[in-house]
């Protein structure tokens, strides 16, 4: 028996369609890969799976009845980690879930259950960080713009939070690494692609694009950040544990004055 290589389009629906296919065809030895990081195994054949929303929904609903609410969203969180091999880990988890009548999503003695939980937790942490560390800057066309570079693909997870909170302003959060953004137009949130001028520097606030007021409020915020610190209690180690350095470049309070 040889190992089969299934290629999907990188979306969650695509992945679930692949899971559907695996169950339908009762495939045992399989590797699932997103088309963006296909590697050809020596003795394997590549099959491309076509994303089918209906099939995806059937798998997703089926899972919902078999695991706790927590276990259900954990699967999605782990998928968004984009970690190498996470698809196969998820498949393993899903196979285990469908192999028994028990609710097993908290059986941490099963290796893929434990691993998925750990990955989902990391993604959850990144989601919270982004909800905290997004810094909007007001553009000339009155959109509050933020750019981020999260470790994991958390934009889909933070959409609801920002929509609820900033219901009366247009905003755009752009993921530089994954080159897409969320745009809220006062009605709904859309996923958008954008083109930036080649010399556009995400870490700088440039007069050509940003509102005059923006510079003032950034200054005021930086001043505030400095004034509110108590020098005699300074503790940089603790500070860095809370705000790891890799996030600094997008925090207004950490920019050169």
């Amino acid at each position: 028996m040889h190992n089969r290589n299934l290629i999907y389009d990188g979306t969650f629906d695509g992945f679930l369609s692949t899971v559907f296919y695996v169950f339908e065809q009762q495939i045992d030895a399989v590797t699932i890969q997103s088309e963006s990081d296909v590697q050809h195994g020596l003795f394997s054949e590549n099959e491309t799976i076509i994303t089918d929303e209906k099939k995806a929904n059937r798998v997703w609903k089926g899972l919902k009845n078999k695991v706790s609410k927590f276990g259900h969203y954990q699967l999605y969180y782990a998928f968004l980690s984009e970690q190498a091999g996470v698809e196969n880990l998820l498949l393993d988890f899903i196979k285990y879930v469908f192999s028994t009548d028990l609710k097993v999503d908290k059986d941490f003695s099963h290796p893929s259950v434990l691993k998925i939980a750990q990955i989902a937790k990391m993604v959850g942490r990144e989601k919270h960080r982004m909800e905290a560390f997004v810094r909007f800057r007001l553009t000339k066309d009155v959109i509050y713009f933020a750019s981020i570079e999260p470790d994991f693909n958390v934009l889909p997870l933070i959409s609801k939070h920002f929509k609820r909170r900033y219901a009366d302003q247009k905003w755009l959060i752009y993921d530089i690494k994954r080159q897409y953004g969320l745009f809220y137009d006062l009605q709904k949130v859309d996923i958008i692609a954008m083109e930036f001028p080649s010399n556009f520097d995400f870490t700088k606030t440039n007069v050509d694009y940003f509102d005059q007021q923006e510079f003032e409020f950034q200054k005021l915020w930086q001043d505030y950040f400095k004034s509110t610190n108590i020098e005699s209690r300074k503790n940089m180690k603790l500070h860095i544990r809370h705000v790891p350095k890799r996030y600094w470049k997008y925090l207004s309070e950490k920019q050169p004055y």
Binding site: H128, E131, A132, F133, V134, R135, F136, R137, L138, Y144, A146, R164, R165, Y166, A167, D168, Q169, L186, Q213, E216, F217, K219, L220, W221, D223, Y224, F225, S227, T228, N229, I230, E231, S232, R233, K234, N235, M236, K237, L238, H239, R241, H242, V243, L251, S252, E253
Partner: protein, 420 residues
Amino acid sequence: MSFERTQEKLKILADAAKYDVSCSSSGSQRTNKNKGLGDATGMGICHSYTEDGRCVSLLKILLTNYCIFDCAYCVTRKSNDIKRAAFKVQEVVDLTINFYRRNYIEGLFLSSGIFKSADYTMERLVAVAKKLRLEENFNGYIHLKSIPGASDELMREAGLYADRLSVNIEIPTTSGLKKLAPDKKREDFIKPMVKVKNEIIQYKSERKIIKNTPKYAPAGQSTQMIIGASGENDFQIMQTSNHFYNTYNLKRVYYSGYVPISYDDRLPQIGSAVPMMRENRLYQTDWLMRFYGFDVSEILNAKHQHLDLDVDPKLSWALRNLHEFPVDVNTADKRMLARIPGLGMKSVYKILNARRFRRLNWEHLKKIGIALNRAQYFMICDSNQFERRDLSPEKIKGLILQNSTSKYSKSLSNQLSLFG
């Protein structure tokens, strides 16, 4: 607004407000209404951290640092030679809204020096909150300081717009207050607390009848005490704290190590250390009272008026009460489990859950993530290996200290999780 003026004011009035530590922004349930701005449901978010490691979640400023009083421990006191400034109501509103829109903050924490009179000052604080809620449709978090001596009517109005109200009692004892803040009377602090407490109760009972009664200060009230300014001991501090929790239904009491700011000889001099470890021990004691089922008199009483600095108060209590140990983790009730040194409430619940399926031994405990370095001396489980030596309290303390470097000496903060 003129940028330079605002900038200058912000520097002065943020600097003057920073010694107030009660900056939590959780506990409210205010949701976004009519597609307005903001939302204060759930846990407050820390949007940043200061270099001293404290959470930045609110814009914390004074409305003004002009003050007619002369409290010795306060930078804003009348006799202090510092720059003074006062915000206009609209300036505070603009700053709050613009910081909020940029996702810098969860909301506003507004306090003030006493300008002209208590009512005059309180009126302006209320005006800021009212404007934010009614004109800007702002649903973020608002914490207002109640100005001691302000009228009941103003306090009632304040609670309609604010999520949390607090009065800082600052000095734990009446004699200390007399010495350091001669203009202030204890009753003036108490009165607004009583008022807010009664309003919260009244609004709560009205809500049961009429669904859309407005929420009154949904996140409750809190207060702060300064530690190490007036020579009070830990016993006095925690007694006062306990009294405030019980009598005024406070949500939180905050303890703030005194940061020396003057050469007044009634106070620790500039350059003396901020009592951060002591502050941390007081927070731990506070936690034990509120979540671990301890009565304050078990930890501090006429015989033990000071908290140990080298070990946490739960361990210290256990060492004085070795006759209560060892506790059998397979049979003990929740109350006793919570008393085992080194076990946090999370661990207690883990044990209660896990022991439903099997009797627990050391391996099980380790697997579910129970830290044993302190706990092992105080418990037994399904194993015949346990501490058999008849160790004296000093010996146990020595063994524990030798095997653990306190995480607080590594990174001190009052916002850390409090027990191992």
